[in-house]
Subunit: 570 residues, 2 copies
């Protein structure tokens, strides 16, 4: 029976960086060769990165992508890697329009190519806006094994390309993916891949992207399953990884080409069966991370890649002594190392002693750079000159802090992090140009109650490893306060966070309406009050910096309400 060793290269590409991504493909193809692989699969659109957004419709970029693909084929050949069949996703632009495509490179040439058929157009995806669908399938024979391909969403459809590949007869399906992380999504991927392997009647090798790209973070979690639903191998989450898998495939199926259902099937010959060799042991099956660990790694990865891919080396933010900035500090230290993290305590006359001491305590625990810059002098110029009172006086404090951080950013080159959480953002409990200042907002999609859970989880992890827990216990236990007037606490303006978050989870993440929420047992006055706050805060949310998305309904690119909006629930 024909043997084939494949490699799944779960790598971290950067959108737009064609030459960097091409180098990544060469480097990992070399690793695949060192592992003895005959075929290597890279993630969806690895050559351009994903998602390219409006770069998809810039013809100079599409031309550069196609040229980079041809050039990559030659580079692989010149590097002595031309005999490995290399599956590389890229942006094609043909007479029909832009395409989300993948090619097979071999012997210095592009020997096969295929365009994605099912174009997702929901959630974070706008592919029907950007791409035209494909309707052909190129099946390549490698080592006498017939290998078909299904690009990402093409897997998620019943009676789609995998079904046609099954009808055409394939021995193996490889699937390049760029499937962003969402909490609990790994629970969906494995059953899906199992279903499609059964449909194709062949093993399925699912290779996913890893790393952060603006608001998205890709978790990897690449998989290989047998046609009878056995999990052969699983890659770890949030790290680059090469998975090697040996197949010994039955062959001898009926092979067809030409029009099969909605698809035109072409056969491409690369190589016949090779002499028998000693297979590798089965690859590891890495366990998915626990819920908190998974979220923590998603946030760390999203933050690190945003900072580094945008050319920054260090970050700065306000350290208030509260839980949000403490968690952001711990994330930043995990992502970048303590020496790249600058926490600024910016006390006002309303700041409590514990604000300053808890911030100092956190700095000692984590080793980050700590500075104190009082804001009293800035605030008093504004308050006195403009005669500000009430909310205007509260806001100017937050804004003086924002401007102070931007001044330090401009002077020293740090990226400013905004430390707000999803609960605040939902109800608009945030000052535009104040605490909303920054280039990135690491916990933008994390509800306050989850911020607390993550803090406890991270401290426990540290204890398990015999390290100092990064987050001061007092930041976890004291009542949250914005400290913009004397004795202020969050519960002056907001319901208790347990109650608020359970309501927001249903209204924001669950898209449930006013009447549903009352039927679910929430106090009608509370529902009215919270829904009005959420609906009013759209402008503030739009002005908030991007942040790592961990849920379907993050406030960001895939969620857009009108600003001018006369609709009120209830």
């Amino acid at each position: 029976m024909p043997q084939l060793r494949i490699a799944l290269a779960q790598v971290n590409a950067t959108v737009g960086d064609l030459s960097g991504n091409a180098s990544l493909v060469v480097d990992w193809t070399r690793k695949a060769r060192e592992g003895g692989a005959h075929l290597v699969v890279f993630p969806e659109m690895v050559l351009t990165g994903y998602p390219v957004e409006d770069l998809a419709i810039r013809t100079s970029f599409a031309r550069a992508s196609a040229e980079a693909l041809e050039s990559l084929a030659r580079t692989l050949e010149e590097a002595g890697l031309g005999d490995i069949a290399t599956f590389v996703g890229y942006l094609e632009h043909d007479s029909v329009g832009p395409r989300n495509a993948a090619a097979v490179l071999h012997g210095g040439r592009v020997v096969a190519r295929q365009c994605k058929h099912h174009l997702p157009n929901y959630g974070v995806f706008d592919e029907r806006r950007y791409f035209k669908p494909g309707s052909s399938l190129d099946i390549v024979r490698i080592n006498g094994v017939e290998v078909g391909m299904a690009i990402c969403e093409d897997l998620w459809q019943d009676h789609g390309p995998t079904s046609a590949l099954g009808d055409a007869g394939v021995d193996l399906v490889v699937s390049p993916n760029a499937s962003p992380y969402e909490r609990n999504k790994d629970d969906q991927r494995l059953p899906l891949v199992i279903r499609r392997a059964a449909e194709a009647g062949a093993p399925l090798a699912y290779c996913n992207l890893v790393g952060g790209q603006d608001e998205l973070v890709f978790d990897g979690d690449s998989l290989v399953v047998s046609p009878d639903g056995h999990l052969i191998g699983r890659a770890p989450q949030f790290v680059e990884h090469l998975m090697l898998v040996d197949f010994d495939l039955p062959g001898g199926r009926e092979y067809e080409q030409g029009q099969i259902g909605d698809f035109y099937v072409r056969r491409v010959f690369i190589s016949d069966a090779i002499p028998a060799y000693e297979p590798l042991p089965a690859p590891r099956v890495f366990e998915p991370l626990s819920d908190e660990a998974e979220v923590w790694h998603a946030l760390v990865t999203g933050l690190r890649d945003y900072v580094h891919k945008n050319g920054f080396r260090s970050v700065v933010f306000g350290l208030s002594g509260g839980i949000d900035s403490a968690v952001v500090a711990a994330l930043a230290v995990d992502a970048l190392g303590a020496d790249s993290v600058h926490g600024i305590s910016m006390p006002s006359s309303y700041s409590s002693d514990h604000s300053k001491s808890d911030a100092y305590d956190l700095a000692q625990r984590t080793g980050l750079h700590f500075t104190t810059e009082p804001i009293g002098d800035m605030v008093s110029v504004y308050v006195d000159q403009l005669k500000l009172t009430g909310l205007a006086e509260e806001n100017i404090q937050a804004r003086c802090r924002g401007m102070l951080l931007m001044g330090l950013s401009n002077q020293h080159g740090h990226l400013v992090l905004a430390t707000g959480n999803k609960s605040e953002l939902a109800v608009g409990y945030s000052t535009i140009y104040g605490d909303a200042v920054g280039g990135y907002a690491p916990i933008k999609d994390v509800f306050k109650t989850l911020v607390f859970s993550l803090a406890r989880w991270r401290n426990t992890e540290a204890e398990k490893r015999g390290e100092v827990p990064p987050i001061p216990e007092n930041s976890i236990t004291k009542p949250p306060s914005a400290e913009l007037r004397p004795g202020q606490v969050d519960t002056d303006s907001l319901p208790d966070y347990d109650l608020l978050d359970s309501l927001l989870t249903l209204y924001v993440d669950g898209d449930r309406g006013h009447d549903d929420l009352i039927a679910a047992g929430f106090d009608p006055a509370l529902v009215d009050r919270v829904l009005r706050m959420v609906d009013k805060a759209e402008y503030k949310r739009r002005q908030y910096p991007p942040g790592t998305k961990i849920s379907i309904k993050a406030f960001g690119r895939d969620r857009r309400l009108p600003i001018t909006n006369g609709w009120r629930e209830g």
Copy 2:
């Protein structure tokens, strides 16, 4: 031959305001009745406003829309308007999903309904994300006249619904639209409507929305054409308007129902022919506005509706004495009246005497409220405490001004306007949290050279009317400067605006690539420099407030590049 008097109600709806929009329909149906109309057509999705964005997928909103439609039918009947066939666009949500729909209300009931077939998914449109397409056409017989309907984009397709209506046999096509303003777009609408009227073999009545909705502004420009391409009537741009048109139609065509091509055609009876009556004279054919006048009205309408629909009564912004803030001031005075406009001169030690005197001159000319608030004390606290130099010192001046305006906004309830233009935004010549502060940016989509043209045009208009030209001549003629360091002028950092704008027009609006631009004769070093500036500035542009869109490639909702972006042209 059967007679029919129709009314096109070119009205200004507000997204989400179901009860306000329903009242609008009742009020304008009453006007139509007063004009003796038998049928009245409202714009696309008039009941919900357009575009509803993510409200489309909120089931509570879709339910409320459907209920509001039924309730509107009853209200019309109760108001004695039930005998007018009223064509009303709304959001439907049936077993297939959300729909962009329009219904015919008559006798207190919904007698016909139809869902948009062609869902645009480019530019400002995301309809394939939000709606499911329809495949049926309801043709209603009113006064013995067969009236078919084509919703907006359904007109823009060859061999689409209008062709099917022609095959089915109709005497008249009505078309509800929500077609946003774009410079020179009225040049496209009339030939299109003429082509479709010929395809349907019937007159076509095109009713468009008017007014501002966030970044979009709808210009009206409703049209009626005969099947032989004669322009029967044309409504004015940027104002609400009722157009009454009498038809005396041949009838006697072959009428079909059932499946016709891709559409299922239903026939609905409302009324037979009525006794002959004296027709009205033909409606007026309003001339389209000149280019500058059209842009000026678009900007005034967009600004006024954004301010009022969001519940503000007044605006505040920095008056620097320069051309941008002068044009914003003149727009704001035209949109809101001088008493609602607050201009603040915020001099620093680098401000020239002419900055202060030109700002004062503008205030005198327009009658807006004028205040001077020096920023020296705020700036020196930051510069001294944080030891800011160079760019950090320049930026803190712009930011102190932004915070000052926000303080006044919070204290007095004015909406802050950002005064930046498209050329600055394109190349990132703007300070985030500085001059970018605000809730709305009226000239965000206006290149600097067009800002100058508009200023001259507005002054000339004033002279024609015997009024004081609003914009000081010196603001038009002096060299532009940010005045953030001694003797600074824009040309220190940027090419001459004539050259810059011609390059940006090709690169931004025209999506032309690096090599194309050099082939077009631009200096390669200049192309490199400008393209790098544009590509780098995406984050700044995203943080800029919304502003009235006047071009296809405005920086806003329909244009989205990655922030983390390794692609560089050239």
